[in-house]
């Protein structure tokens, strides 16, 4: 088991390294931030001088090796635009994204789980069809559209909630709703499918034969067993959440790392972009790993194949 684990961690780290390399070279291909940093009237010599000062006139592989050397010493460098340590910038912004992701997960679980259970348990009734339609709708909504509509409705027309930015805990509501809608659909479907699977199992029929009502059977046994695949899907969804956060943070001006990433790409703040991508891919990879391990724990056949 530990060998398997070690192997998977190794693969995960390799994947992250691959990501870093790709991002590094792709960013360098798009130019450098020198032109963005100089004032309007700078001359060609002044631009060249600044470029040299910043080290962007070195060949790209040389820059890459220098970067790797710094990484090994856990030196993530300094942002060119903000003249502050990259790690510090990230540390300030990550909590906002974490808050947003938590809010979205809360929405997704809070709505998705009961919906999924209902859809499975009452699958022959009209309520299941209605819920199915709603779940499908949630999956089909473009996040930026639902975001803008939410702002328009609750922020501008009704003035119930803040329209954007960070203005106290209430400002987390709208962005979480927008971000959580899509994940909610996944959870609902996954829960429905897992519960359906369980409901079909022999032990449930046996329990029913013993006289246990369907709802007790569901509550006592089915939910507990269905929870396992659902939890593993949650781990995978976190990765998707981070991706969706980029658009939501832009629409709602939420100062998380998604917004930071977009801004840094647009200002060619390489070191920040690389750090964000590294962080996100590590989280992604860690979540995938957790999900895989959970699967392997339940299903011995998978363990053998790897």
């Amino acid at each position: 088991m530990t060998r398997h684990l070690a192997g998977r961690i190794g693969q995960a780290l390799l994947a992250s390294f691959g990501v870093l390399t790709i991002v590094f070279f792709v960013m360098r291909l798009s130019g450098d931030p020198t032109l963005l940093l100089v004032p309007e009237g700078a001359s060609a010599e002044q631009i060249a001088q600044l470029r040299h000062q910043l080290g962007f006139d070195r060949p790209v592989p040389v820059q890459f090796l220098a970067y790797l050397g710094d990484l090994v010493r856990l030196d993530f460098g300094e942002s060119l635009v903000q003249r502050a340590p990259v790690l510090g910038i990230l540390a300030e912004r990550i909590p906002y994204t974490v808050a947003l992701a938590s809010g979205a997960l809360l929405v997704a679980w809070g709505v998705g789980l009961p919906a999924g259970i209902a859809m499975a348990v009452w699958r022959d009734r009209w309520i299941a069809r209605l819920l199915q339609a709603l779940v499908l709708a949630g999956q089909s909504l473009p996040t930026f559209w639902s975001g803008i509509l939410l702002i328009l409705l609750f922020g501008v027309t009704l003035r119930w909630l803040p329209t954007s930015g960070v203005d106290g805990p209430l400002s987390l509501v709208l962005p979480s709703l927008a971000l959580g809608a899509v994940t909610m659909s996944s959870f609902a479907r996954m829960t429905r499918s897992a519960v359906l699977d369980e409901l079909g199992r022999d032990y449930v029929n046996a329990a029913r034969a013993r006289g246990l009502s369907r709802s007790s059977a569901v509550a006592r046994h089915v939910l507990r067993n269905a929870a396992i695949p659902v939890v593993t899907i949650a781990a995978l969804e976190i990765g998707n959440l981070l991706a969706g956060a980029v658009i939501v943070e832009t629409v709602f001006a939420w100062p998380g790392i998604g917004q930071l990433a977009i801004q840094s790409i647009q200002s060619r703040d390489f070191l920040v972009v690389q750090a964000v991508v590294l962080f996100v891919s590590l989280v992604y990879v860690a979540c995938n790993l957790l999900a895989d391990l959970a699967y392997a724990a339940i299903d011995p056949r998978i363990r053998m194949r790897a």
Partner: protein, 494 residues
Amino acid sequence: MRRLLAAVVAFVLASPVLAQNRDQLTIDLPADVATMDPQIQWDTDSATVYRNLFDNLLTRDKTGKIIPQVATSWRFENDTTVVFDLRTDILFHDGSKLTPEDVVFSVKRITNPAFRSPQLSQFDQIIGAEVTGPAQVTLKTKSPYPVLLAQLVKLSIIPKAYVEKVGDVAFNQAVIGSGPYKLASWQRGVQTNLVANETYWRGKPAFSRVTFRAVPDSATRIADLKTGRADITRGLSPDDAVNLRSEKGLDVRDVATERVAYMFINTLHGPTTDKRVRQAIAMAVDRDTLITALQQGYAKPVDVVLAPTNFGYTSEVKGWPYDPDKARKLIKEAGAEGAVIPFLTSPVYDRRLNEAVQQMLADVGLKVSITVVDQPTYLKRRLGTPEEASSLSQGRWSCGCLDADGVIFPLFRSGSVWSKFANPAFDAEVDAARATLDEGARRAHYKKAFEIMREEVPALGLFQDEAIFLVRKDIDWTPTPDEAFFVFDMKTKS
């Protein structure tokens, strides 16, 4: 770890600032401060905040004239040497005195190539800075530099001892200046809080607390003002301004700035190398409709590529009249009917202006094809070779120095990265204008330069940009053309 915790606590406790409190001021800006260190980033949103924390060597009054601040007076010993007498009663926020050593340190730090200041090119004509008396410094320039004083308006004085003690990175996090406000806290990406410097040498500031919030969406900024969450915001679009004119309790205040909107035309490559095509373009653009329809009148037309607030502006050089028929004739003459004109731009520039011009040029037979790339790519191409730069671009230029030298020299003098224009007569005029301190002579040179530009059309001057602010009615403040944002100059009307 502590920073993480602080951010979480700050987030949880962040509450809407009670803007109704007349002692506090809340300002919504489109973006957060990039650096608090005044010698690094120079963008509007950063400068808006940090200029309140520092004093500058010189400053401008409401009419734009350069007046003393840290320096009480100055005299030119010769064309390349200026002596400044300094105030002796200024204290930094940590109590230490502002001395000539601090002034010299500020100059040397920003002109030090190893410091990599993005503002270097605005100060690199200064080759010497020395303490020459208990309250005196002397600056030397490479050659006669008529824009020196204008550039020094942008030099903030920083405390040498403190900066050397804590280092550049820590200084950026927790700046100390001598200005009317002190930095209380800076939550990156969210907001900056300032508190009044009670012992400020010009007097106690009217507002005891000031908060600058980063709110990228203009609709949200306006909503904040309507609900009283904020007191002032900038960057209103002309459409918004028209809508808000009748809003109770709020004032739309606009000011004609030194920024000029123009259309760059490539004279060195593509269909626009033919002068007739360029002149046709000048006659095909209906500038007045652009100003009425797109700018809702919040713009003043200019015939030259310079705003009237700048030194060197002349109204004696007339532009080309709007005459689409003549334009079509010229294009036929030049054999350029149906020519494809590449137009390069980025999201930074108003896309409606681009598309409107595209339509106007289509009406006279030129097919404009617009390519939008992001700002870094745009700069790379626009500042590259004439082949990369495309035939047309929109431009919005301000040098922050209120002088033609900062505008048409970098834009059109051959050899400059922005210039896709090579005219020796033009070069001679702008070179001469920069080499003398005699104002009359400079004006004459610039007039000649603009006459050459009128004939050759390396660019089309469109209008003088306006900055539009939304301000709570009871705040007594008028915006100035240099877009300075000094909270010290604001107070509530009694």
